[in-house]
Symmetry: C2
Subunit: 281 residues, 2 copies
């Protein structure tokens, strides 16, 4: 497995990698969710590139960029064990050198939910993903459903800017108690870690109501809100039942695919999770 | 020479074109300036693709999108004679289908001059060029110096978004009397056509002053303004002596490469032109 920092070396190394090439973009501190993406890429592609880059432009000024967890040696050892061909670990200086001034923005699909709570977040995501795509030139790129809106934003980016890339969205990987894998779970103390299962409990309760025939969007949101309310450590930021195609909130009757999603502070840690009902991502 | 409309056929055809591939993006109604780009691409590349697309997103609401001149049969015949391999002629519907919502913006370098006079223009340019680059995947792309700020914006776009593409800027091609070739010259009536030489006359006068040792930026701008003032049909929009690297106006002494540039209405027709002194684009 090659580990490369500079863009020039990456381009050089890229030449000898067989296609189709699968790219798994990550911010490192890898968990089983990331590894499931790597395995999907390994199954489906002739070569696999993983990028590790904690992208500063997708963090807000009050967010956790500085304390975002990092452990490169561990990441590299995990990726080597998965048979990854190349890991690209650019520096912020390489990605955003002095004079950097170009931004990619996706509009409507990036506006609600995470986009509303984290202004500029998806501009940072779309920009860095466009850069990764141009640098690595993959045929396929792998993203987790846990960041469902991000996956939709990137699908739109790929379609709109004519990237010749297939976006593959893989299922959310969860702990035994349902908590979605996230690098940010490391922030949770033991008490918060227990409380954090409330996200999945709320989502599965709404999913169960949907499966039992409940189609009223307000009711589905209320099912989630009631469960969140019962957890004293949880401070919900949003609770959404949105159309899967454009992420606009369902009003009245849910008559098509829906993304049930939520963002919840558990103590100081902001967690997100989602489930899709009536369709798939 | 293949002429293709759909993105899918383009991608298919692209596979069998040898590299390096040169792309010449145009809005059609080709003149000798365009053909010089095609010839440069033909000399330097194993295959040449020309795109013809009057990009609606780079025109302002009050601009000349609807009456922009078009003559596809003539364009195709000119390109076939130059040995072009493939011409891509997408429709607006192909480039901007319903639901389109992704934009590429370049900031500082796109802000002054044309960017200040034509809000949104360079967002349209950067976006369509990113789309053309992803669709055609050239190794080199050819642009004319006549649109000098556009060339600088695209160089910045390519560097910032990691496009593996060399941007080649070719010299402005001029009529015998110095008027820069432009598809918009067709708008000029005979009297305006004569008056239109004032742009080049103003630029060459400032260039001569520079070459004679004049380094005061205000003076160089005044040389151009005086010549424009003597032409009754000319209404100058801007007259600039800017740093070539960032397009900020030189203040006081010109101590490095400068872009002398201007935008002038001749009757209802807006023309631009430029010369570089003390360096090159």
């Amino acid at each position: 497995m090659q580990t490369i920092t500079s863009l020039e070396e990456l381009r050089q190394a890229r030449q000898s990698l067989p296609v189709p090439l699968g790219l798994v973009p990550t911010m490192g501190y890898l968990h089983a969710g990331h590894l499931s993406l790597v395995r999907a890429a390994r199954r489906e592609c002739a070569s696999v590139v993983v990028s590790i880059f904690v992208n500063p432009t997708q963090f807000g000024p009050q967010e956790d960029l500085d304390r975002y967890p990092r452990d490169l040696p561990r990441d590299l050892s995990l990726l080597a064990a998965e048979g990854v061909d190349l890991v690209w670990v650019p520096t912020p200086q390489i990605m955003y050198p002095p004079g950097y001034q170009t931004w990619v923005t996706v509009e409507q699909i990036a506006a609600p939910l995470e986009g509303a709570m984290r202004p500029g977040h998806f501009r940072g995501v779309a920009t860095v993903v466009a850069k990764l795509f141009n640098a690595v030139q993959p045929q396929r790129a792998y993203f987790g459903q846990k960041d469902a809106q991000q996956a939709l934003v990137i699908r739109r980016l790929v379609a709109d800017l004519n990237f010749p890339i297939q976006v593959v969205v893989c299922p959310t990987v969860r702990e035994a108690d349902g908590l979605a894998m996230s690098s940010r779970n490391v922030y949770l103390n033991p008490e918060e870690r227990k409380a954090a299962t409330v996200l999945y409990r709320a989502l599965t309760a709404a999913q169960a109501a949907y499966q039992a025939g409940q189609r009223n969007a307000d009711h589905l949101r209320q099912v989630m809100e009631a469960i969140l309310k019962a957890e004293p450590l949880a401070r919900p930021q949003y609770v959404s039942c949105a159309r899967l195609d454009d992420l606009q909130e369902w009003q009245g009757e849910v008559s098509g695919a829906a993304l049930l999603s939520l963002a919840v502070f558990i103590g100081q840690t902001r967690l997100i999770d989602n489930l899709v009902v009536g369709g798939e991502l």
